[in-house]
């Protein structure tokens, strides 16, 4: 039987693509979540004004 190296190469290449693709997907999700967590942390730590700025005067009747 011929050796069919091209089939062997295709099988190993495809498996590497699938596993590598899934790994990259996990890493991307990890980075997204870390960035979202950083943004949330920054929003929490941002100093809030002591009191609300004064609004327009209320007209008297």
């Amino acid at each position: 039987m011929p050796d069919n190296w091209s089939f062997v190469l295709a099988a190993y290449g495809l498996a590497a693509l699938v596993l590598g693709g899934y790994w990259r997907r996990l890493l991307r999700r990890e980075r997204e979540l870390a960035a979202r967590e950083r943004r949330r942390g920054a929003a929490r730590d941002e100093p809030r004004p002591a009191h609300a700025p004064p609004g327009p005067p209320i007209p008297r009747r």
Binding site: N4, A11, Y12, A15, V18, L19, Y22, E30, L33
Partner: protein, 218 residues
């Protein structure tokens, strides 16, 4: 990334390298099939790890329904996802091996068909989880499906005995001793261990990400 995950990732990487060396450097060329038989070092471990992954889904689903433990639900989710990845590798490498060996990429053989059904069932499991917004309801429905879906695993494994199939019977998980020579068995086992380690790494990472996702969305 936690230090445990990092260690597991490196060990899995080393295992895959060892598996590659075993498949191409140590295991001899098979006399009848030629070098195309080396695809088996991917194809067989991939389905065995998929069995493991879906077995974990079954156990974690039962635990979730029993005590509503969120950790068990995350484990079931992660394991199903990784199991689908390994099943896809099994189906694809089987088709690539089938063309030069059987003369066809695909045939409606009982083993091939039952594996494909298993693949579709677990895709539906993931789809179900993604479609239901209420997390508790999604977890409950998915747990029920995770238990029912596991019924297909023995069907896949024993299909080669229950029906007359083109696919050969099991070579590793069979009663009695295996008919393979030791170098082939060793290469297969090293690759199986590497795939199990990779499964552990992927699941550990995915479980942590699912926990973080739930914390961010809470």
């Amino acid at each position: 990334m936690t230090s445990r995950e990092r260690v597991l990732g490196w060990v899995a990487g080393l295992g895959l390298t060892a598996g590659f060396v075993m498949a191409f450097g140590v295991a001899p060329r098979e006399a009848t099939q030629g070098n195309v038989q080396r695809i088996m070092y991917l194809h067989v471990p991939a389905i065995l790890v998929a069995y493991l992954a879906f077995g974990v889904v079954l156990v974690a689903s039962v635990i979730y329904l029993w005590g509503r433990a969120a950790g068990a639900d995350r484990l079931a989710h992660a394991s199903a996802e990784v199991g689908v990845v390994f099943t896809s590798i099994n189906i694809a490498t089987g088709a690539i091996w089938g063309k030069p060996t059987w003369g066809t990429w695909w045939t409606w053989d009982a083993r091939l068909t039952s594996v494909s059904i298993m693949f579709v069932i677990y895709l539906a499991y993931l789809l179900l989880r993604a479609m239901i917004e209420d997390r508790e309801r999604a977890a409950r429905f998915a747990a029920v499906l995770g238990i029912v879906a596991a019924l297909d695993i023995p069907l896949v494994h024993f299909s080669v005995y229950w029906w007359r199939t083109l696919h050969q019977p099991a070579t590793l998980l069979r009663p009695g001793s295996t008919p393979m020579d030791p170098p082939f068995v060793l290469a297969l086992i090293v690759n199986l261990v590497a795939f199990v380690l990779l499964y552990g790494y992927f699941v550990a990472k995915r479980v942590r990400l699912l926990r973080q996702e739930q914390e961010v969305l809470a």
